[in-house]
């Protein structure tokens, strides 16, 4: 019953919003090559369904691999940065590089250095790495000092403290980082695909060349659905891991 309470309001808002948009586009007379009607986009989803789904699967695969790599690398790098104050001060500013690098500019270079499909995964990795580092580091550095002292009183070594206290208490922050990185990984994958080909990115590029604005919107819609699905998956993970003990998952 509670599940319906969570799904129904956004579903209704979506349907009503789509209907209003449909009427607005029809009434305003905007030409279809500038802004297609939602009904035209739906029709394209049906007509080109198999092509779009195959592209969605490719993008999902590449985004997920890039995302998984950035999650693992992000946690490891954060662990390294949190090990000593001087390490953090020396190297954390350079981690920001991953946030600010304009991926569309280096994507052609990535294509030259790696194979075409690997380049897409690297794009997804680069774009989604920084939130993982930043959030994990924040979590590792904000362990309850009282608990840290308790561990020290009991004679726990650094590795023990890290594994049994700091990392578990950083899990909520890691999950926040995952939520942000997931969507970014999809964006990174699609940007990489503009240059390297394959997946929804190349569907968008092809459709744009053919002046099929409805197909562009259909592909973009699927990309958003992918990001949403990833977000939902991480929320589920969060609920499963945190429901017993963390305030954020307790109603």
């Amino acid at each position: 019953m509670r599940a319906w309470g969570r799904i129904l309001p956004p579903a209704i808002a979506f349907v009503v919003g789509a209907l209003m948009l449909e009427m607005a586009v029809r009434w305003s007379g905007v030409p279809s090559y500038l802004l297609p009607r939602p009904s035209a986009v739906c029709q394209t989803l049906v007509d080109d369904g198999s092509e779009l789904l195959a592209a969605l699967w490719t993008t999902a695969r590449e985004a997920l691999i890039g995302f998984a790599l950035s999650a693992i690398a992000g946690v490891l790098i954060a662990l390294l940065l949190s090990s000593a104050r001087w390490v953090q001060r020396a190297f954390y500013p350079y981690a920001v590089f991953f946030q600010t690098v304009p991926i569309i500019a280096i994507a052609p270079l990535l294509v030259i250095w790696f194979r075409f499909d690997l380049a897409v995964i690297v794009c997804a990795f680069i774009v989604s790495l920084f939130p993982m580092i930043a959030n994990t580091l924040s979590g590792l550095l904000s362990t309850d000092p009282a608990l840290r002292d308790l561990f020290r009183l009991y004679g726990a070594g650094r590795l023990s403290t890290m594994w049994k206290l700091r990392l578990p208490s950083a899990v909520p922050n890691i999950l926040t980082g995952l939520r942000i990185s997931g969507g970014l990984a999809v964006i990174g994958a699609i940007v990489g695909e503009f240059i390297a080909g394959g997946g929804l990115g190349s569907v968008v590029d092809e459709a744009r060349t053919q002046q099929r604005t409805d197909k562009v919107f259909a592909a973009v819609l699927l990309a958003s659905v992918l990001g949403l699905a990833l977000f939902g998956l991480i929320n589920l993970m969060s609920w499963l891991t945190l429901r017993r003990w963390h305030a954020s998952e307790q109603d």
Partner: protein, 329 residues
């Protein structure tokens, strides 16, 4: 909170509707500033337009023209259709597709009588023809959405070739991989490759039977109706500019190099030379530079229908306007 989100949705839809209702009728009359949108950075393929500006051809015909350079992915056909600009450059197949999608653009002047689109391979591979290339191994970088790519796929098939996206103007992958073939404009990438010490060999798509007019000056139907004199003046000015450029490209080349510092002077003059035979043909000697025929438009429309790129075509005369006769079309 719920009221706010409803208001937000309604406001957004209102904005979109207002944007779509932009008044397309209030375009400037002759004498007012005209924006002419190019579909790439300044290069030899636009030499005649810059020459027209330099020799004062636009001014002589009463036009105040601003040439706006484009880049990768500039949506010129949509910009003209929506009224953002009044004149732009597109290719003929783009125009036919646009019309089929409800975008009423019409062609006025075609720079390239022969399409410069080609596939560039390494001469060391010993491939003698385009069909041979398409049956070979290796990698081919083309922009798959383009009609010529569908034409090639339908006519010859891509066989064992690995198809990857086209590197827009960037030849580094070609230079480093002997098995790499890519789409190109015969006036551009092969010349750059040769300059970089490579061994390019180009097969023209036109030779395979697909030959759309390219670098075509277009405007909208309603603009043409309302400002036929301006459109005619534009065509005459462009014709003069291209004549000047073909006779001596050096002045316009210098201007384009200033506007596009990435241009290599030698490559630019080699491009200007290479494109002569594509621009000046027996057809243009008879009917003037940039002239077009209904037959070629019909052929192209038929090809696009066969490729299922468009569902329906209009009579060929609707695609272009012949503004040469004093009374216009």
């Amino acid at each position: 909170m719920r009221i706010c989100s409803w208001l937000g949705i309604v406001g957004l839809i209102g904005l979109l509707a207002a944007a779509g209702c932009k008044d397309r009728g209030s375009t400037p009359s002759a004498g007012a500033k005209i924006t002419f949108q190019l579909n790439w950075k300044p290069e030899a393929e636009f030499g005649g337009f810059y020459a027209a500006a330099q020799v004062g051809a636009f001014r002589r015909h009463g036009l105040d023209v601003e040439i706006a350079p484009g880049g990768s992915g500039t949506p010129t056909v949509q910009m003209v259709g929506s009224g953002t600009v009044d004149f732009a450059l597109v290719s003929a197949d783009e125009l036919i597709v646009a019309r089929a999608r409800g975008n009423p653009v019409v062609a006025l002047f075609a720079v390239y009588q022969t399409c410069p689109q080609g596939i560039m391979v390494h001469a060391s591979r010993g491939l003698k023809s385009l069909p041979r290339l398409l049956q070979s191994d290796g990698t081919l970088a083309i922009q798959r959405g383009l009609p010529y790519a569908e034409f090639l796929e339908k006519k010859y098939g891509f066989g064992r070739l690995k198809i990857v996206p086209a590197p827009n103007g960037d030849i580094s992958l070609f230079l480093h991989n002997p098995g790499f073939a890519q789409q190109c404009f015969i006036t551009s990438e092969p010349i750059q490759a040769k300059r970089a010490g490579s061994d390019p060999r180009t097969f023209l798509i036109a030779d395979a039977g697909y030959n759309p007019y390219t670098t075509v000056l277009v405007t909208r139907d309603d603009y043409l109706q309302a400002h036929a004199q301006t459109a005619r003046a534009m065509v005459l000015a462009c014709r003069e500019g291209w004549r000047a450029y073909l006779d001596d490209p050096r002045a316009a080349d210098a201007l384009m190099q200033k506007l596009n510092p990435t241009l290599d002077g030698e490559v630019l003059s080699a491009s200007a030379e290479a494109q002569r035979s594509l621009i000046e043909t027996t057809q243009t000697n008879q009917h003037g530079l940039g002239a077009m025929t209904a037959d070629r438009w019909k052929t192209l429309a038929d090809q696009l229908m066969e490729l299922k790129v468009i569902d329906s075509a209009v009579p060929a005369e609707r695609y272009f306007a012949d503004l040469d006769s004093p009374a216009g079309k």
